[in-house]
Symmetry: C2
DNA sequence: CGAAGTTTGTGATTGCGCTCACAAGCTTTA
DNA sequence: TAAAGCTTGTGAGCGCAATCACAAACTTCG
């Protein structure tokens, strides 16, 4: 089992377990944690927790649970969080600024180490000690700072072009906030965060339940009418 | 087929098709579009596009493709975007401000119609014409403004409490930006956007390919050594 | 009109992920 | 030491989603 490739769905949950484990470690000084407890904290099924963790190896003890510190270390290592991941943000507008001054990234070894834009107005401005540089300097900055992650926060029209510049500079991981599809070579990972899509999914389900409620209401009225 | 419930995976892709269709409609004045073209724009497989659209009904014409305007209308209707969805943002810090002044939401009928916080310092301040109100006023605002979506942008510790207040006020759809698990009754939908998790997934895959590259390199060196 | 060319709609197949259920293996207790 | 009690690790079964492949239905062309 432990030499099998880790399923994507599992990879996506490891960060959640990591967060739960940190909470356990910092909070009550418990040394071990059961899959049941972890499951409750992560909001998933206990069997899923066990199967997920079993892909990393047999790090639990039957009858006891998982050693918190040890499991923390193993997940951290598996996710590649024992090393530092310098990241660059491209497009320093509303969203880019919020991201640039967000403290939460550094907690897991992600360090924003360069900011880029093309607007003359903002070039040179400092945010959290970092100057906004021109996108033309991207390639040299990637090499100098060892940047491994590119965060795109430009308008959608510019996203593909910026992605290509990132790829050209050697960046293999991209997080895209612009609502547009970006195409990259197969050796590059792109993940997108699209708020508008999330809202549309919510409205789909809400509309659906509203429609059902309305239909029920109509039925009820018809029933009453028939009785009268 | 068209009376079957729409699979979740399909719902998540409809907004992407919608965006692609809008691009087709506005750009070149093409009246129809093929599944192949849509697939290319959405970055997915053509068969998937056809199957997805078939859940909405048979809106295409064989040998021709899909009528752009008609399909636009059908997807819009299915996603519930023919009506307005007033939303509230709770937690007006770095991220909340970026969201509050984002123009992109209104394009699809999402309207930010109230802002909430608990910090005395920011209460009363105006952002984009909206005042920041105290969280205690949430319930009355939800009723008055007909708010149907709650966007949580508070620190993680406050997220569960805020979610409960939203639920209590009657909100059935929640978008959570705080890195924490929130539990809600089964009739409420929660979607989460967690940037830190996205970065960790990226680092997992990047570390993995780096590890492979390093292993190859080591092998190569051993091979050279053996030859010498 | 008939044949060739397009493109949809969908049955069939395959693969992936979730859940269940339980043996294996540990701790505690007497 | 033996029995009872927990909790892990994982095989088996099931359902959802992706892909394939092709008949059906349309358009175009000769
Ligand atoms: N602000 C939000 O809350 C929010 C929410 C959801 C999605 N988004 C998306 O995030 C992206 C950024 O949003 P925003 O509100 O910060 O927009 P913004 O207009 O405030 O900022 C965009 C920035 O990108 C810069 N830019 C433009 N073209 C560029 C290029 N080719 N290279 C580098 N920089 C370039 C601009 O100069 C500007 O500073 C958009 O795609 C938007 O749709 C934003
Ligand atoms: N800023 C980012 O780019 C970013 C990125 C990823 C995730 N996040 C997450 O988004 C959330 C907000 O981030 P931020 O950077 O805007 O933080 P922030 O500290 O700038 O803002 C948080 C705001 O929430 C308010 N608040 C606190 N408790 C509250 C309560 N109980 N009810 C209502 N409001 C309350 C605070 O007064 C403050 O105004 C955090 O959970 C953060 O982890 C932010």
């Amino acid at each position: 089992m432990r030499n099998r490739p880790i399923p994507e769905a599992t990879v996506a949950r490891l960060p959640i377990y990591l967060r739960a484990l940190l909470e356990v470690a910092e909070g009550r000084g418990e040394l071990t944690v059961s899959s049941e407890e972890l499951a409750a904290m992560a909001g998933v099924n206990a069997a899923k927790v066990r199967k997920d963790l079993s892909y990393l190896g047999s790090y639990g003890t039957r009858g006891v649970g998982y050693d918190v510190e040890y499991l923390l270390y193993q997940i951290t290592r598996e996710l590649g969080l024992t090393q530092d991941w310098p990241a660059a943000i491209i497009g320093i507008g509303n969203l880019g600024r919020a991201l640039a001054s967000y403290k939460g990234f550094s907690e897991r070894g992600f360090r924003i180490s360069a900011l880029f834009d093309v607007d003359e107005e903002v070039l040179g401005e400092q945010i959290g000690g970092l100057p906004i540089r021109h996108l033309d300097e991207l390639k040299e900055a990637v090499v100098e700072e060892g940047i491994s992650i590119g965060i795109i926060a430009t308008p959608p029209m510019a996203a593909q072009e910026v992605a290509e510049k990132l790829v050209d500079a050697g960046v293999k991981s991209i997080l895209n906030f612009a609502p547009s599809v970006v195409n990259v070579p197969p050796d590059v990972s792109v993940r997108k965060v699209d708020l508008s899509i999330e809202l549309q999914i919510l409205s789909f389900y809400q509309q659906r339940t509203q429609a059902i409620a309305t239909a029920r209401e109509a039925n009820r009225r018809l029933a009453v009418q028939r009785k009268v």
